[in-house]
């Protein structure tokens, strides 16, 4: 904790965390000790587990000018301006997002071992002879990690072309066996259903002619995607078979056994009633279950488990995939060894504009071009809400607090607005939590001057310096804060002094037994909830309330 930096967080009023809902403009008198006593249970506790979900650094917040309220990610609405790949910076149209999903479908991959970006390189013999330098290196190609030196060769995967790696990779399993494409599976299904002269729903994307038919194994071990596709086709054909009248949809109200309604009897169990059964008895036509892999049925393959165990035994810990590596995989099921890991296609990102959830006004709107980080509109809270910073009063002093020794801190409010603001602050007498430190604000109410333009500021700067000293400091010539007086004042900022009497962090002397226990993370930091109310007048209206929270440490 040698280099502790005091910090401030802001709570967005949209949360109901421990605080009674406070409406805009509701006033709250500055705290006196007796009132604080009463309001103890209403005090916001920055230590409460829920507090972390509602506290934000000021820069993370937006501000709605119409609602006069700060807006956190919970109280804004997002609209997507553009989707893009963070690696190749290509913009991805929404249609592609819908059909291809949330990953870059070009050649952008992360290393499955260390998540560093992978690059495509040729492992073919370099071209020789005259003009060789003008010739593209020939294939085959592999994905390489420059950081940990992993290569797709390790999982038995090479590529013919240096581009469109995503498509090439989707056609090959680790080890090099080709994947049976969904198209091939579909074709096979159609052929089978034709042979069996069973009605079959045509699936989306009618198969093209001239495809070579594959003979699928009814006992095949399917990957998740294929099993899902087979199950889906199976259920669709069953539904079509069972109730031809509603082949392509649910007719509604039909709870007949074997009809789509039969599946919705899954929901029948939610009602806990038997009505579905009664009706079902009058119906005929049964929907059967899946029979083999072609219909999505997968018998549990216990042999693969034994293989896994044999590998664990022989190859040891180092060759197993870590939890973090598995987490990055899109299909982590049944992966145990690092040899089963797949390169990770880059997750796409979005640029979003934000609206106020209450009044729908736009609060932030980025430029749509991927390459730029500029915004067209950005109403960030620091341009509207006085920033609050905290530092020890004695600059020479160590940041670390000493138990039971009163220590004074300077709380500085800086006004970004071009109007004067009236600030009232209140703190509980003691900080919430196991370790209660006493807190006193020496000056709970004050005014902060208006902000000015930069050039004006430059002109005034000389004069400004003189004004800074308060009477207290000037007359006594030493650092002594006075109750009810502002500590320091500038053109658009004011500092007040807060006195903290830290408690001891000895948990073993606490009164309540359940409180005892070791000092947990961050309990050695004093966090003070400060209720801040800011009022200003512009064109005869407007005021604002914010709950701020300051932290300081030792």
């Amino acid at each position: 904790m040698a280099s502790f930096k005091p910090y401030t967080y802001f709570q967005c009023p949209c949360t109901d965390t421990n605080l009674p809902p406070r409406r805009l403009g509701e006033s709250r008198p500055p705290s006196s000790s007796s009132e604080t006593e009463q309001e103890d249970d209403r005090t916001f506790d920055p230590r409460a587990p829920r507090a972390n979900f509602s506290l934000y650094p000021l820069e993370h917040l937006l501000y709605c000018e119409d609602c006069h309220q700060i807006r956190c990610p919970r109280c804004v609405l997002d609209e997507i301006v553009t989707w893009y790949c963070p690696n190749c910076l290509f913009e991805v149209p929404s249609g592609v997002i819908k059909s291809e999903g949330n990953r870059c479908t070009r050649s952008c991959f992360q290393c499955p071992i260390c998540i560093a970006p992978l690059s495509v390189s040729s492992i073919g013999a370099p071209p020789e002879g005259l003009g060789a330098e003008y010739v593209q290196p020939s294939g085959p190609y592999v994905l390489n990690c420059a950081y940990c030196m992993w290569s797709s060769k390790e999982i038995g995967i090479q590529f013919e072309k240096p581009n469109g790696i995503y498509a090439q990779l989707s056609k090959v399993k680790n080890g090099g066996t080709p994947v049976i494409t969904p198209k091939e599976r579909r074709k096979d299904r159609e052929e089978r259903s034709r042979d069996a002269s069973v009605p079959m729903v045509m699936e989306e994307g009618i198969s093209e002619e001239g495809e070579e038919s594959v003979n699928l194994d009814a006992h095949e071990d399917l990957d998740a995607e294929s099993q899902f596709a087979n199950l889906k086709a199976f259920y669709q054909s069953q539904l079509a078979e069972a109730s031809p009248a509603s082949a392509l949809g649910f007719t509604g109200g039909d709870y007949g056994y074997g009809s789509p309604g039969a599946l919705s009897r899954i929901m029948g169990l939610y009602t806990g009633s038997n009505f579905a059964d009664k009706r079902s008895k009058s119906k005929t036509g049964t929907m059967r279950e899946a029979q083999d892999a072609l219909e999505g049925l997968q018998l549990c393959n216990t042999a693969s488990d034994e293989e896994t165990i044999a590998r664990l035994r022989n190859e040891g810990y180092e060759n197993t995939a870590s939890v973090a590596q598995l987490k990055e995989q899109t299909h982590p099921a049944h992966i145990h060894s690092v040899d089963d890991l797949r390169p990770i296609a880059y997750l796409l990102r979005t640029k979003r504009s934000k609206r106020c959830k209450t009044c729908r006004h736009i609060l932030s709107k980025p430029e749509s071009k991927v390459q730029t980080t500029r915004f067209r509109i950005r109403l960030v809270a620091p341009s509207y809400i006085p920033s609050i910073s905290i530092r020890p009063l004695a600059t020479s002093q160590n940041f670390l607090l000493t138990p039971f020794k009163p220590t004074q801190f300077v709380l500085t409010f800086k006004n970004p607005l071009f109007d004067r603001v009236k600030v009232s602050i209140a703190t509980p007498g003691t900080t919430p939590g196991r370790f209660e430190s006493r807190v006193t604000v020496l000056c709970p109410q004050f005014e902060v001057g208006a902000n000015t333009d930069a050039w004006e500021e430059a002109l005034r700067e000389g004069a400004e310096r003189e004004k800074r000293r308060t009477k207290a400091e000037a007359s006594e010539g030493q650092l002594q804060a006075e109750a009810g007086k502002v500590w320091e004042r500038g053109r658009n900022w004011v500092s007040v002094v807060v006195e903290v009497v830290p408690t001891s962090l000895r948990a073993d002397v606490l009164m309540k037994e359940e409180d005892r226990g070791p000092v947990r993370e961050d309990e050695d930091v004093v966090e003070i909830p400060v209720f801040v109310r800011v009022e200003w007048e512009a064109e005869g209206q407007g005021d604002d309330t914010v709950v701020g929270e300051g932290g300081e440490g030792g």
Binding site: C72, P260, I266, Q298, I362
Partner: protein, 564 residues
Amino acid sequence: MSSANGPAHRSVANIRSPPTAHPGSPHTPLRTISSAFGSPSALRAEEDYVVIELGARYFRAGFAGDAVPKAVLDYGPEQRRRAGDYRKWNMGYEKDWRKRIQGKEWGEAYELWRPDLRGLDLGLIGDKVDRAFREAFTKYLLTDSRPRRLILILPSVLPLPLVSTVLDTLFTNYQPPTVSLMSAPALTTVAAGLRSALVVDIGWSETVISSIYEYREVQCTRSVRGTKMLGEEMFTMLVEAVDPTSLQERGDERGFGEKARNTLSFEECEEILVRMAWCKPGKKPEQPVASFGLTPVKEEDELRSSMRTMNISGDEAADPQISIPLRSTNPRQTLKLPFSKLAEPCEIALLGKGNLPQHLDDEELPIHLLVYRSLLKLPLDVRSICMSRIIFVGGGSNLPGLKARILNEVAALIEQRGWDIVQGKAVDQFRNNPKLQRTRSRQADEGPMEVLRDSNLVPPGLLDQEPDPIEDDLRREAKKDPPVVSGNLRAIDSLGAWAGGSLLSQMKIPAVSIIDRDQWIQQGPSGASRAGEITGTTQRQSMGPGAFKSAAGDRSSWTLGLWG
């Protein structure tokens, strides 16, 4: 308000469009398609459901129609940091893990909820769900905030306060027009291509076995033996290997003492569990279980027997020393453990090694015994269907070798005891009292029955012993189709509940428990009809404000189904 004379404010105020207009005011040049809510993904928002599965440890979310969820998130301590808290990236952060131990129990900081609701902060659960939901949507699903219809998959025995908290969070923060509730075990069955199954969910705080017959949950049994207990045993084993003295001071009941918990971090223990834990094959039943399956493959059998012999030999090759590098211990070290030792936690935690079954409470049964008991309690026809459709899901089912072992053990139990040996009074009653069976189907709502003591569920319309046209149907169909496999032990792989929800919504099958946003906001959980009330008698229902919206009269009354 502060419209004063500052450049920043002025510019902002000027480009502001009136509330009713789209942002396409002259001052904000826009791309043609990006008007307020007319952005390109408009179609998807209307068509597509988002499927969410909530479990004690993980949050899964994705679009209906996908095979796997796009986001699988945990609720670990790093998920509950403040915004802008980047200490995770600080040097030496990992080393400080001891300070971050939270909660009284081992692993408590990593779970969303626990079966025991006492002392649970429901607001915090709402916050965690909210954050996971937001992260899933912005980072993985890449969607905007437009309201979307949701399918919410829940364990079938989640207490109402939790269901209610989750629904509150979803409805208030994300405004979905509707939320459809679905039960995980039923969907697991769907995602295996089956209509009936014995779903063995080896979850975090408990193992829950649901017997699904014709998509209905007819029985539910549980045991506290889950992956948490497995983790605790692994932790004990590892800590003992690192520092045998640290286990001497034992915490209250099951917990670990301070010293033990400071020896090794939860993450590292779980890492080792995921990577290295395994389950022994156990004794081989006379009739090998694998041969029950439809596809006995020759090579697999050979492989298996060769591995068995390896097991028996017991020399260094069969039980090598495994080196496990530990980073959370002080100092770092490399642990050397015999490979066989890494199978021990599973033996103790899940299979009840060292405990005689008769000394165990009903909720402490080892998993194989729980499977056997569950089957035993089912009526004959349901049992023979379910025993050939055992589905293992949940985190614990990933443990290599566990599924085969449980099947082996169950096969041995069947061989040893058959189905006739009555081991409990409850089963006795059940069998000797046909009245009980008949009345049940009629009075499904009258509270738990003594028959199924383990069951917290009222099994809706459990068993109809009368001649059943459904059965007749099945039989008739059997002529047309291959015979229905039954009567042998067989395990089936399911894509899991999430995929089941995704499949179902693709079939356009409506859930009975569809909760309308307006109705929930105005009525809350108390607005739901009691299970069974909803049948066809919509006229009786009071006309809630939501009723005017829906054309179908049925929607004026709604139910929380299983969870109400």
